[in-house]
């Protein structure tokens, strides 16, 4: 009898991994209070499978909706990062909650790129599906693509960390788009949309 092996699961290489102590609440394995999402490649983008416990409860047995915002934001934001090699700051995000998400149950979040990956703004969408494949949350968001040079001023990095992360993002950009691989480590281009990061939620990680 012939058995069919499932296709191998590959994981996108997140540039933040070069920072030994990054503490992103969403995707760092080093934050004891975080949710430590791990991503895999998906035919439509990237995905993460997660199960949230009672620490993230809202009504009894129901995951807090704000945490689901973290999940979709992380998945969309990291998708943009691995596709562009640029840092993605969330500009706006909108969720539609279709059904309660249960504490302790397994779900998958899938993110897809929208329009504008080549411009200053990129849109993305995501959905969270339950074990039966039913959609329980949909989300759309807009991100501002920022070169590492610009982002560097807004995130707390030591000089060696900045060097490592800059190199990692350059590698990510090269892998994502070989034609543009020499752009990510260029000095900053004038950023006409650049305003103080008053309400930006840094999908870029903030090591402590």
């Amino acid at each position: 009898m012939t058995t069919v092996e499932p296709p191998p699961t590959t994981a996108p290489e997140l540039p933040w991994a070069v920072l030994e102590d990054y503490r992103c609440f969403g995707c760092s394995p080093h934050n004891p209070h975080g949710i430590a999402l791990q991503f895999t490649d998906h035919p439509e983008g990237i995905a993460t499978t997660f199960r949230l416990g009672r620490s993230y409860e809202s009504y009894p047995g129901v995951v807090h909706g704000g945490l689901l915002g973290v999940v979709v934001d992380e998945t969309m934001g990291n998708l943009i990062v691995v596709r562009t090699g640029q840092v993605a700051f969330t500009v706006s995000m909108r969720l539609r909650y279709l059904a309660p998400v249960s504490v302790g149950a397994e779900y998958i979040c899938v993110a897809r790129l929208g329009q504008g990956a080549d411009g200053p703004l990129t849109s993305a969408s995501a959905e969270i599906l339950d074990a039966d494949g039913a959609t329980v949350v949909t989300a759309t968001a807009t991100y501002r693509n920022v070169s590492f040079g610009t982002a560097r001023d807004r995130i707390a990095l030591s000089a060696p960390e900045a060097t490592r992360l800059g190199q990692a993002l350059t590698t990510t950009a090269a892998d994502a788009s070989p034609d543009q691989s020499d752009q990510s480590d260029q000095p900053d281009q004038p950023d006409q949309s650049d305003q103080p990061a008053r309400q930006d939620h840094p999908t870029a990680k903030e090591p402590q």
Partner: protein, 86 residues
């Protein structure tokens, strides 16, 4: 940009049929969505989510919760597409 209103009604009918587990033939534009057997708030929200994904629009909540039929939902989608195209 011209908007195919009939096409929108047809596609929404197909979405409703798929999400609520009924046949397309059992639905007409004036079908009361909440009166369809098996319809509940979760399933109707899934219809809305699918509609938003299909046309890449974000519908306002007060519009979404105000619709009662396929034709109503089609009007909301058409209006959103017109705003998008403006």
């Amino acid at each position: 940009m011209s908007i195919d209103a009939d096409g929108i009604v047809r596609q929404i009918t197909e979405i409703v049929a798929a999400e609520l587990g009924v046949t397309v033939d059992s639905l007409v534009p004036d079908t009361d969505l909440r009166g369809i057997e098996g319809a509940d708030s979760v399933r109707l929200l899934r219809v809305v989510a699918k509609v938003e994904q299909t046309w890449d629009v974000e519908l306002e909540d007060d519009e979404v919760f105000g619709v009662s039929s396929i034709a109503d939902l089609a009007k909301v989608v058409t209006a959103a597409l017109q705003v998008q195209a403006a």
